[in-house]
Amino acid sequence: MLKLATVIGISSALITSCGQNKETKPKVDPTKIEVVGSSEAELTAPPFVPKPVGDRKATKLIVHMEIIEKEGVMADGVKYIYWTFGGSVPGSFIRTRIGDEVEFHLKNHPDNKLPHNIDLHAVTGPGGGAASSFVAPGHEVVFSFKVINQGLYVYHCATAPVGMHIANGMYGLILVEPEGGLPPVDKEYYVMQGDFYTKGANGEKGLQPFDMAKAIKEQPDYVVFNGSVGALAGDKAITAKVGETVRLYVGNGGPNLVSSFHVIGEIFDNVSIEGGSLVNHDVQTTLVPAGGSAIVDFKCEVPGTFIIVDHSIFRTFNKGSLGMLKVTGDENKTIFSGKQSEQVYHPEGGTIQTMPEDANASKLAKPTSLAERIEDGKSIYNKTCFACHQANGEGLPNAFPPLAKSDYLNADINRAIEIVLKGKTGEIAVNGKKYNSVMTAQTLTDEEVANVLTFVYSTWGNNKKEITPDMVAKMRKSTK
């Protein structure tokens, strides 16, 4: 029966695609590509991808994919029950070439509570395979399909309630390379965005259950790359050397949000738009739809840490969609001087750059007492600093250092003033943890800098130093 269904599925797929492809691709009809031999597909967990297909012939490719429901870490101290393809979020990366006949074994681990299935967008057939792959816990289904369109495709679970299965992490990417493979590059990585909905607010500790109401309202608590906050940051950052070309296979599992994918300080030389055959060049930000993808590549010209973001930027600074590409090698001062930190990423940073009215207001009523200074500083903090350093100065793990009880802050007042005036880039250690990101220069008056720093020093267990506008003015002069 299963065989019969498969035969029908494949033959109907053949018929439809013949009709579509004859005009556009007269040379090779991908449905007629013969397969040679068979082999087991290499599957990889993010951020890695299997080795390129190169010039291998189309083959019968056997994929063993296991569905596992398991507890994982969403952020520091925050746990979540993920439903996974292959034990990771996003699921294992599958790499094929056009004409491959994929024999797909979908296994639902006996410990799992729910039935699942898989819809691969690379499949031409009913439900993308979902109708043939519905599988109860403790069972395995097998179905086959021939990949007849090249590109980067999303796969996901499509069992009721579909949104919940996707929201819990059931998505991944399958790549169909053209004959001869994609042009070779030095480094390839797998990055996939997803939005998560937890019962507790962002950062609330403990095991957080899925919140259906928030999912329906499309108000995620976390928007992350590769399944969790920090999955691509710090020690887990992806790496390259100066002079290397990096290709990112970018997917977006959703379930709800569309990603404005951007790498701070890089320009994509080539973008396969929506993962298809159309290639755009010199792109700053590319849109990755939910349930869609893009392939981007760029040459790393200068060393440094390049921040990978969803440029719907509050998601990055407040919900976790921050990854890092660390490039090592020699400086190239022609391309980037490295001295003017403003040039790294001036218009962003979660800060309000200029607020003329407010600036005037604070100039009018110059606080004289310490209490007034703190009061004014607090309002500046809430406008300018809190997006990154958070409401209580606690910062964000792996991204933004804490200001509360901060050894780094308390150690050197002048350094603190300088950072506010000039910004800060590169690795620092705060309270024993390393941070490597970018703070932009703040366009604040001397008065405002003094007030906001006094506020920070006098709260959250810091050493209660008072900073005066004169001190700020001196620093401003001496660092010019």
Binding site: N112, L114, P115, P126, G127, A136, P137, P161, M212
Partner: protein, 282 residues
Amino acid sequence: MSKIISLFCFVVLTFSCTNNKTESIKEEQPVNVVIPNDTTFGVTTTMVNIKGAKYVPLYGRDSQLVIIKLFSMDVFPVSNADYLAFTKVNKRWRKSNIKELFADDNYLFEWKNDTMIGNEMKQNSPITNVSWYAAKAYCECQGKRLPSVDEWEYVAMANQDIADARKIKSYNQYILDWYEKPKTSNNEIGKTFKNYWGVYDLHGLVWEWTSDFSSILLTGESRNDVKTDKDLFCGSGSINATDLMNYAAFMRYAFRGSLKAVYSVKNLGFRCVKDSIIIIQK
């Protein structure tokens, strides 16, 4: 009495046989069928009466009012110890004797052998990894039967306080939270809440077999189900996607839809019901 039960079980067997040979068998009895002698096995369980009523199940077969007649239901799901007693007496349901026709390879998968449950398992945990056939035989040997989907859903829509808690947010959240939590089948029975009817563990422990689990056919391509099977959606009038209870019920029906009668699943157990009223002795 035991003869009647044997007859009952015999009917089951012939039923499955006729299913497989629908054309060759007409009125004759199959020749080589061994009449199974499933018998009672000395386990008695507490039951409670469930007062019947009319109700609209979330995704009923006809999406109309369903009439539930008075019946009684086991307070707890069947435990490992209970099932062990059953297989001690009824050897054809032992791990080593089970026919492929009645259960897949996962049947009693974690048991050490025919008479011992696994090291990690507790006597008082719910029996799982049993097929629909096995569950049915167990109930019938006690003069009981499996509940229908409608009956099960009817009792399961109660929380601690009221018979129909389907609109209560905390009740639905409790169910959804459990659906997400793996490995609850190792917990012991009777540790979740006692519901309005006095029944435990309908939510929060294991899935449970129903007699007509396969009567709603989800194709597995659930987005199709949304479009084509109107009955699934008209049940509660117009679908209100913000309603958590839809999701909880949807997941139960999806789970049932993924099963076949021979499947023995680690998170799937059962309990029995009875048509007659029982007199509760104190």
